[in-house]
Amino acid sequence: MVRLITHNLLACHAKGCTTNNFPLVFKDVQLEIRESEMNPEFLRNFYPKLEWDALVKTAEQLGDTSLPKTQPPIESVDEEFLKALHHVLLEIHVEEGAMTCPNCEHRYGIVSGIPNMLLAEHEVA
C-alpha cells in the first residue's frame, strides 16, 4: 500500500544517489481508493513534515488536482482543506506499478501494494 504520505518521505537510497533523488516518479500505476477515517490532529502534526511541491506534483500525476500549488500556513487551514489533504495522503493507494529515481533511474517495482526497495549488491552504499 504505497500511499502518498509514505511516498512523500521516500528518496532513492542507491549508492552515490544523493541529489535529485526525490521524489520518486510513479510509472504504470494501478490505483485503489479506500476511504479511511480522518484524524485531523495527526494531519496537523504531520503537516510541517510534508514536501509540498513533491506532494502536489505527484498527486497531479495520479489525477488529483485538489491541492493548492503553495502550502497554506497551518493556522489558516480548515476542515475542508484537511479532508482534501487526508484523501490525497491516505486514501489513494498505489497497488501495482513502479517508482523510478529521477537521478539514477533505479526502478522500485510495486506488487500487491508493496514496493521492492531491495538493491543489487553494486548499488549498496
Partner: protein, 289 residues
C-alpha cells in the same frame, strides 16, 4: 535456544509455511505482543498524541496490529516476502516495504516520531556473502546511520533482539553510538533464563520524555506476574474474537472492509496479468518484481 538466523537467510527461513506457522502460533503471538507493548512503553511517546512510527522487520504484522490498536500511523519494512504477504492477509493498516535493513533506509530526515523493532536485528550479525557491503559491521553502520537520520529529534528507537553473546551487544551498541545515538541496553528480568529480554533503547537528541537522557530501568523478577499475564491474555482473546478462524480481522464497518484478497478481486475484474502468489513469494535471494 534455537537460532533461526544461523539456519538460512531470513527471506528463505521465513518462507510461506514458516511465515504462517510463526504467525498463527498463539504462544509466539503472546510473546511478541508483550514485547511490543514493552517497547512502546520504553519509546515513551508523549501521551494522547498521534505519532508516525517505523516498525523495523515488521514481519507478518504482529506488532503492527498493536500499533493499529493504539492508533498510530506506521510504516513496516521486512525482507521476507512471505511474512509481508501474511501481513497483507491480516489487513494491517501500515504501509509495507520489501527492504533489507542492512542496506539502509532512504527516508527523508526527521520524518519518524519513533521506531520499534521486535526480534530482528540479531539477523544483521551474519554475513551472507563475501562482498564488502555484506559484512555485519558495514550493514549495522548503514542501518543505524540511516535510521538515526530518519528519526526526528528528540525521539527514540527501541529494538528488542536476541544477542548470543555480550560481544554482540557491545558491537551493536558501539556502532549505534557512532551513528549518533545516545541511550543503551535495557535488560528485563536479567536473572530469568526464560523471561530475560534485551532492549536496545536508543535516543536521538536526548530521547524526549520526562526522564530524557536517563536510560529506563529493566524489569525485575521472573517475568510478568500471573494476574498481569492473565489480564493481557484476556485482552488479546478479546481481539481474537474479532477475527475469523483464519486469523483475519472481520470486516469492520465503513471503508475499512477493503478487500485484501486483491488477486481474487483483480481476477473478477478480468485482469489477466495478476501476479501469482508463487511469483510474489519467490524464494530467490533477490526477487525481481
Amino acid at each position: 535456544m534455537s537460532r533461526p538466523e544461523l539456519v538460512a537467510p531470513p527471506e528463505i527461513y521465513y518462507g510461506d509455511s514458516e511465515a504462517k506457522k510463526y504467525t498463527s502460533n498463539s504462544r509466539n503471538q503472546q510473546i511478541q505482543s508483550q514485547m511490543t507493548h514493552r517497547a512502546l512503553e520504553l519509546l515513551n511517546l508523549p501521551p494522547d498524541q498521534p505519532a508516525f512510527l517505523l516498525d523495523i522487520g515488521c514481519g507478518s504484522g504482529l506488532s503492527g496490529e498493536i500499533l493499529d490498536e493504539e492508533g498510530y500511523e506506521w510504516v513496516g519494512v521486512d525482507i521476507a516476502p512471505s511474512m509481508l504477504e501474511v501481513a497483507l492477509e491480516r489487513e494491517v493498516e501500515g504501509d509495507l516495504f520489501l527492504q533489507d535493513i542492512g542496506q539502509g533506509f532512504g527516508f527523508r530526515p526527521g520524518v519518524f516520531d519513533g521506531a520499534i523493532s521486535i526480534s530482528v536485528i540479531q539477523w544483521l550479525l551474519n554475513a551472507e556473502s563475501s562482498h564488502p557491503t555484506s559484512s555485519p559491521p558495514h550493514r549495522l553502520t548503514r542501518f543505524f546511520t540511516t535510521l538515526h537520520s530518519a528519526l526526528r529529534s528528540p525521539s527514540r528507537a527501541v529494538l528488542q533482539f536476541y544477542p548470543s553473546s555480550d560481544d554482540q551487544i557491545e558491537l551493536i551498541t558501539s556502532i549505534a553510538q557512532k551513528a549518533g545515538f545516545g541511550g543503551g541496553v535495557v535488560v528485563d528480568y536479567p536473572n530469568s533464563k526464560k523471561a530475560r529480554k534485551v532492549f536496545l533503547c536508543l535516543f536521538v537528541g536526548g530521547g524526549g520524555g520526562a526522564q530524557s537522557r536517563e536510560l529506563p530501568k529493566g524489569l525485575d523478577g521472573e517475568g510478568i506476574e500471573e494476574s498481569e499475564a492473565a489480564a493481557r491474555f484476556e485482552k488479546r482473546r478479546e481481539r481474537e474474537r474479532k477475527r475469523d478462524k483464519s486469523g483475519k480481522r472481520k470486516a469492520v464497518k465503513g471503508g475499512k472492509d477493503w478487500i485484501l484478497k486483491k488477486k481474487e478481486l483483480y481476477r473478477q475484474r478480468g485482469k489477466e496479468d495478476v501476479p501469482r502468489d508463487s511469483k510474489f513469494t519467490g524464494r530467490k535471494r533477490r526477487i525481481t518484481f
